[in-house]
């Protein structure tokens, strides 16, 4: 009701009467007559509209249709106007007469009978059917696709968000506060069943079920903040634990893996509105990606089920890639922010090799452009290369970084052709690589000629302008 404009009398102007009279060939209509007629026409129009609105109301609709007006005409004993239906809206054309205000006339389309006959017959509309579902079970709405997802609580303050959230039924913007209250209560308590089935010790079946629920359930919106916080805190706690025994480490790596699974599942869920939580998603992902040690495997052989650190980094970078793929369109600043963090990790002196690896993987998942910036413009390649040299000297494992760099070309199954020193082109590429990336990296990359060449091309592209 609030949105209704105030009614105002005198909408129908005398000019319209004169125009209509003109169209009927009556040119000498006096001002007074037109004035009186305009008032009367307005009154009659309102009468018809008033009558039609009764039919709208009794048809349990909120939008008046032409059929309502037709019924009103019938009831008022006026001859109905035929030929209009709710499904073929009228089109008006603006005509500018030589003098005076513009006139709007009905577009009178000419229909060619032959073409109409040749056209495909209009398909018969589907007949009415019904479906039944539980709108509520003992006062609680089941989280099924037939029901709308519950409203996002509290965080929906920002206008951008509330526009994207399932709109409240009407446009007056006052989302009911009762559901918010109840969901607030739910948020306060952990979704215990979900959490308990997502610990490493839980059954695989349960874990899968929980993840599936995260992936597909529409009703998670109210608990989303909780899950996000749970993941965030979990990751921080796991990474903070230091100096633990091997067993514990395995456990922790596994739980990190699960946290990543959870985030990935949440991102996959099409019915969830995760945008407000993206900034909370990023820290766990980046932490896993960039944490220096990630418990580099000790001599004791890891169990088969135990994910390796580089697996974790790969996993987190793939989650990051998914996140960016889905949301960088709506949040253009997202990718650049992530890149900045990763670049810092890549080039800052004093970082461990693990961090470098993670940064590289992260950059790769951000995109080609980011890799270029990282390795070349920020001379990350050289730094990494130097680091690798140093690490080799200290007898440490550098496979991680090498693998990280191999991720990009993804030449599965195709045998690698190393750069041929005899080939001029190859040599030029090798030179470019070693100048851009340092020797160690260059030789690693040199194992794959195709990749090396493409990288070299990129390097020359970058270095030429400068």
């Amino acid at each position: 009701m609030n949105s209704k404009p105030t009614p105002r009398p005198g909408i129908y102007k005398a000019d319209s009467i004169i125009d209509v009279a003109d169209s009927l060939g009556i040119t000498n209509l006096s001002e007074e007559v037109a004035n009186a007629l305009a008032s009367d026409v307005e009154y009659r129009l309102h009468q018809v509209i008033e009558e039609a609105s009764r039919f709208t109301r009794h048809s349990r609709r909120t939008i008046m249709t032409t059929s309502d007006v037709d019924q009103a005409f019938k009831t008022l004993n006026i001859e109905p106007v035929y030929g209009h239906s709710a499904h073929t809206p009228l089109s008006f054309r603006r005509v500018q007469p030589p003098a005076g205000p513009p006139i709007y006339v009905l577009e009178d389309e000419e229909v060619d009978f032959e073409t109409v006959l040749k056209e495909d017959p209009i398909p018969v509309p589907r007949s009415v059917r019904y479906t039944a579902h539980w709108l509520a079970i003992e006062g609680i709405q089941p989280l099924i696709p037939e029901n709308p997802p519950p409203e996002v609580p509290a965080i929906a303050d920002q206008p951008a968000n509330s526009a994207l959230v399932t709109p409240p039924p009407t446009q007056n913007g006052s989302t009911s506060s009762a559901p918010a209250d109840s969901t607030a209560r739910q948020v306060a308590r952990p979704p215990s069943r979900l959490v308990s089935s997502l610990v490493p010790s839980a059954e695989e079946r349960k874990k899968t079920a929980a993840l599936t629920s995260l992936r597909a359930d529409a009703g998670l919106a109210p608990v989303l903040p909780y899950i996000t916080r749970w993941v965030g805190e979990g990751v921080v706690n796991t990474l903070r634990r230091e100096g633990l025994e091997g067993d514990e480490m395995d456990l922790d790596r596994r739980s990190l893996d699960i946290y990543l699974d959870v985030l990935s599942a949440l991102l996959e869920n099409e019915r969830l509105f995760v945008e407000p939580y993206l900034h909370q998603f990023l820290p766990p992902i980046l932490s896993i990606l960039l944490t220096s040690t990630l418990f580099i495997p000790q001599p004791l052989a890891p169990t088969p089920s135990d994910p390796s650190p580089s697996h974790l980094r790969t996993h987190s970078s793939s989650v990051l890639a998914r996140l960016l793929l889905q949301h960088s369109a709506t949040y253009p600043s997202l990718a650049s922010r992530v890149t900045k963090t990763l670049l810092a990790a890549l080039v800052e002196p004093g970082r461990m090799l693990g961090t470098r690896e993670g940064a590289l993987r992260g950059l790769i998942s951000v995109g080609r452009e980011a890799v270029k910036r990282g390795l070349l413009q920020a001379s990350g390649g050289k730094i990494v290369s130097d680091d690798m040299d140093r690490a080799r000297e200290m007898g440490m494992d550098t496979r991680g970084v090498e693998q990280a760099l191999m991720v990009h070309p993804a030449t599965d199954g195709v045998p690698l052709h190393p750069l041929n020193d005899m080939d001029d082109e190859d040599r030029a590429a090798a030179d470019a690589l070693s100048s851009g990336l340092g020797n160690t990296l260059a030789s690693t990359i040199g194992q794959d000629a195709t990749w090396a060449k493409s990288l070299a091309r990129v390097i020359s592209d970058v270095s030429l302008p400068s």
Binding site: H46, P125, A136
Partner: protein
């Protein structure tokens, strides 16, 4: 006449007291204790003419001071100075003079010097001429009627000035400009006054606005009317959007006379409620111009207080005097919410039926019932709201069947004990209720006692013998009562642990347990797809086996919810060959599907009703449908054909409902009547006439003695079905009624209106218990839960909402509102408060269940408290 209170009062006291009951002859005060109806001038004349006559005869009242005051005001008018008249109006007025004046044909249209205002108004001129002629009879030497064209306004004025006739004042005071100024002054006075009185005075603006607007239109001042409307209507829109809209359509005098709303304004009194102190302030302002006015505004803007300002106030007084009726309450101003000031106010004169008992109509508790719905309701006597009795034989048979039930032995014992204890006819009913009431610590007597039980003689005539289906139904009723899921909203607050976290799928286990209880109902939603705006109404049969839907394409579609095939009868059979069930089976159609179209109407179908005879024990045999084609049709669900078309209404039939006993049904129509029919007769048995607009919905009381109707005149009424008279009137909504429901326990009655509120009424007293708000679009349907603890509503805002019937309700505390919604710099004044009152959710809203995009058109609750709703799914972008 209108100036008389001013002058007389001045001579008496500076601060008038309204409740004195002695010296306020022309302001009609209706005080609760002291009724001053007796004095001659108090007679409710009705029209202005009579009032004027009144004044002429009441010569004793005319004091010399009064004459002097009049003479002065006339002189003031004649020499109207420029500041009083805005330049634009001068132009307008002179333009207006031409056309209508010539049509009057009695006076010369040329008013000297283009004197604006009243003198340029042809009506006034002709009236002046009349007066002049009258006075000329007494005093020779003034032009008489025989030569009216020679009379100029100034001549008239001078002549009248000399005679000092009272009429002149009246005529001159109809200057439309005074209306404008008067209204502005009143508004300023109200806004400038104390905050505590603002709620109280604000309702006063609307009727005065309406009368001024109508007056302007009536006199042909179309342009001023439009500008007056544009200036002042927005402030009133919040509460009176519908009326304002109707008023805004009236622009010519002919419209005013043909519009029902305008006629009501002109013929009825608008009731305004006011506190004693508020009323005395108002009277003080009207007569003295004191109190609350911003300093100096009276002088600077409207001329001297004695001149134009006072005259403008007089115009307000005219309306207040003739068209308003004050209900002066004793309650304290500050203790009453703004909503209460408007309850039972407005143009309620015609909404209240004329009491059958005239002696009683005069005064009940000192109030005239014509303006007090409560008084009317009180004098109609008590209602028999208890459950309907069963015939002895049927009751015995039912008990016998129940006793034979193997697994319900404990309850059977209960049954027999009760029956032996006393021979109460409602025994079984009460037994059923015992089950539900006991666990809540209530005594069963609160459910069934306190209501007067009707006797068999009170009921509509029923067949003398019962059929087996009756027994089945009654047995099933008892079973349903036993297996009913209790809905107890109080559990919601007591036991917060029940709330699940959203992951735990709350099992249906509670449904299967023997005496389940739940805070909120389970709701099963039936959604229509591909309906394209076409679904007007739908209904579930009581045993939930059938779903019927009425379409705007004039047909009814029937669905079997059990997926059984709906088979009719072949059309090519010989009736003589049908003798037993097998032969009947033979002539059934061979093929069928679980849905079926019933074609017969020639207009949109607006309402449906399944016959209640089978109850929950057997599927219904008949279906009624009401349509825009003026007919109500009876469909046999055996043959799947139309059996009868009941014609009688001369307009679209909006609603139809079977009586709870079957056989009879009621319809509601645009022709402003509701009618009672027997399915066995072609013509209506009773016509319930009295609503002043469409009757939109009908609802039987559960004992079928009474019929409730909801109407577009914003009221609901309760009719005695047998006698056809109105027993109760429920006034309180601000818009047409869209849905009504009566509670299964027979005590309450709920109505929903386009003002988006749901009102809960107490049937026996006819008073409003509370008003519930929260929906954001029209409410299409309402129903009580089977145990009357909950009200469930379905709305076009795509939600189903549950309301607590027993809680006191009321708006939420202001603190609970999310911060930052109050705009900066906006004072929480009356208008804002009102908005809050109307649109905010009240605390008794228990739950809101949104659907995806389905406006709910039907909500029903099964006797076991399972809620069924239906509605068409609206695709996101229909165009």
């Amino acid at each position: 006449m209108v100036s008389s209170p001013a002058s007389t009062n001045r001579s008496q006291s500076a601060t008038p007291h309204p409740s004195g009951g002695t010296s306020r002859p022309n302001v009609r005060v209706q005080t609760s204790g002291l009724e001053s109806e007796g004095s001659g001038a108090e007679e409710d004349g009705g029209g202005d003419d009579e009032d004027r006559k009144d004044n002429e005869t009441a010569g004793s009242r005319r004091t010399s001071t009064r004459l002097a005051a009049k003479a002065e005001s006339v002189r003031n008018l004649a020499q109207k100075s420029a500041p009083v008249v805005p330049p634009t109006t001068t132009k307008r007025a002179s333009k207006k003079t031409n056309a209508p004046a010539s049509s009057a044909g009695r006076t010369s249209p040329s008013s000297p010097g283009g004197t604006p205002g009243p003198l340029s108004d042809p009506n006034n001129l002709s009236k002046l001429a009349d007066v002049a002629a009258k006075s000329a009879k007494g005093k020779k030497g003034i032009p008489t009627r025989s030569a009216p064209t020679t009379v100029t306004a100034r001549d008239l004025l001078s002549s009248i000035d000399a005679t000092g006739s009272a009429d002149v004042n009246d005529i001159l005071l109809t200057d439309p400009l005074d209306n404008l100024v008067g209204y502005k002054q009143l508004e300023d006075w109200i806004d400038g006054g104390l905050d505590m009185y603002r709620h109280e005075f604000r309702p006063l603006l609307f009727p005065i606005f309406c009368h001024f607007y109508l007056e302007l239109v009536q006199q042909g001042f179309k342009d001023s009317a439009i500008s007056f409307f544009d200036t002042h209507a927005p402030a009133l829109r919040e509460r009176h959007a519908a009326e304002l809209h109707e008023l805004s359509t009236l622009l010519l005098p002919q419209h005013v006379s043909s519009s029902p709303l305008a006629n009501r304004f002109r013929s009825e009194k608008y009731v305004v409620r006011m506190s004693r102190s508020g009323f005395s302030l108002l009277v003080g302002w009207l007569t003295e111009g004191t109190g609350g006015e911003p300093t100096g505004s009276g002088e600077g803007l409207y001329g001297s207080r004695e001149g134009a300002g006072r005259r403008a106030r007089m115009t307000v007084l005219t309306v207040v005097n003739g068209r308003l009726k004050f209900d002066v309450t004793m309650s304290n101003t500050s203790s009453v919410s703004s909503r209460t000031w408007e309850e039972n106010t407005g143009l309620i004169g015609s909404l209240i039926p004329v009491a059958s008992n005239l002696a009683a109509a005069k005064t009940v508790n000192g109030k005239l019932s014509t303006y007090d719905p409560n008084a009317f309701n009180a004098q109609q006597g008590d209602l028999k709201l208890g459950p309907a009795p069963l015939s002895d034989s049927l009751r015995e048979e039912t008990e016998r069947v129940l006793k034979e039930e193997p697994d319900e032995s404990g309850h059977v014992a209960d049954n027999s004990a009760h029956t032996n204890g006393n021979g109460d006819v409602k025994e079984r009913e009460r037994d059923g209720k015992d089950e539900e009431v006991k666990p809540f610590g209530e005594t069963p007597s609160t459910t069934s006692s306190g209501l007067i039980a009707p006797t068999t003689a009170d009921l509509l005539p029923q067949p003398p013998t019962f059929r087996s289906v009756d027994v089945k139904r009654e047995v099933e009723k008892v079973r349903d009562a036993r297996k009913r899921i209790k809905l107890d909203p109080s559990m919601l607050f007591a036991d917060s642990g029940r709330e699940t976290n959203g992951f735990v799928h709350p099992g249906i286990s509670a449904l299967s347990s023997r005496f389940p209880a739940s805070a909120l109902p389970s709701i099963c939603a039936y959604t229509f797809h591909d309906a394209l705006d076409g679904v007007n109404c739908s209904k579930f049969s009581e045993d939930s086996s059938l779903l019927a839907t009425g379409f705007s394409e004039s047909y009814v579609r029937l669905w079997s919810l059990k997926k059984e095939k709906l088979k009719g009868l072949r059309s090519d059979f010989n009736i003589g060959q049908v003798s037993d069930p097998t032969s009947l089976k033979k002539i059934r159609e061979k093929h069928g599907s679980s849905t079926r179209k019933l074609v017969g109407h020639s207009g949109p179908v607006f309402a449906l009703s399944f016959d209640p005879i089978g109850g929950t024990a057997a599927p219904p045999k008949y279906l009624l449908s009401a349509s825009a084609d003026h007919t109500t049709r009876l469909w046999s669900l055996e043959t799947m054909t139309n059996v009868v078309a009941y014609r009688g209404h001369s307009n679209p039939v909006w609603d139809v409902q079977w009586s709870p006993m079957g056989t009879y049904f009621a319809t509601a129509s645009r022709d402003r009547t509701a009618r009672l029919w027997s399915s066995e007769r072609m013509n209506a048995l009773r016509v319930f006439a009295g609503h002043v607009s469409d009757v939109d919905c009908v609802q039987f009381h559960p004992n079928s003695l009474y019929l409730a109707t909801g109407s577009s005149d914003t009221t609901c009424r309760l009719w005695d079905v047998q006698r056809g008279v109105c027993m109760r009137v429920f006034i309180g909504h601000q818009g047409p009624i869209t849905a009504i429901a009566s509670s299964p326990d027979g005590r309450y009655f709920a109505s929903a209106s386009t003002d988006l509120s749901i009102n809960l009424w107490d049937l026996s007293s006819g008073r409003r218990i509370k008003s519930m708000t929260g929906h954001t679009a029209p409410i299409n349907t309402l129903t009580f839960s089977a145990c009357t603890t909950m009200l469930i509503s379905g709305s076009a805002d795509w939600t189903v909402r549950c309301w607590d019937v027993k809680s006191p309700g009321g708006p939420k505390a202001k603190l609970q509102r999310p911060g930052g919604r109050v705009e900066e710099g906006v004072l929480p004044d009356g208008a804002l408060d009102e908005k809050d009152d109307g649109k905010e959710q009240t605390v008794d809203l228990l739950a809101t269940f949104p659907t995806k995009r389905t406006p709910i058109i039907n909500v029903q609750v099964t006797p076991r408290n399972l809620c069924l709703v239906s509605g068409p799914y609206l695709p996101p972008d229909p165009r």
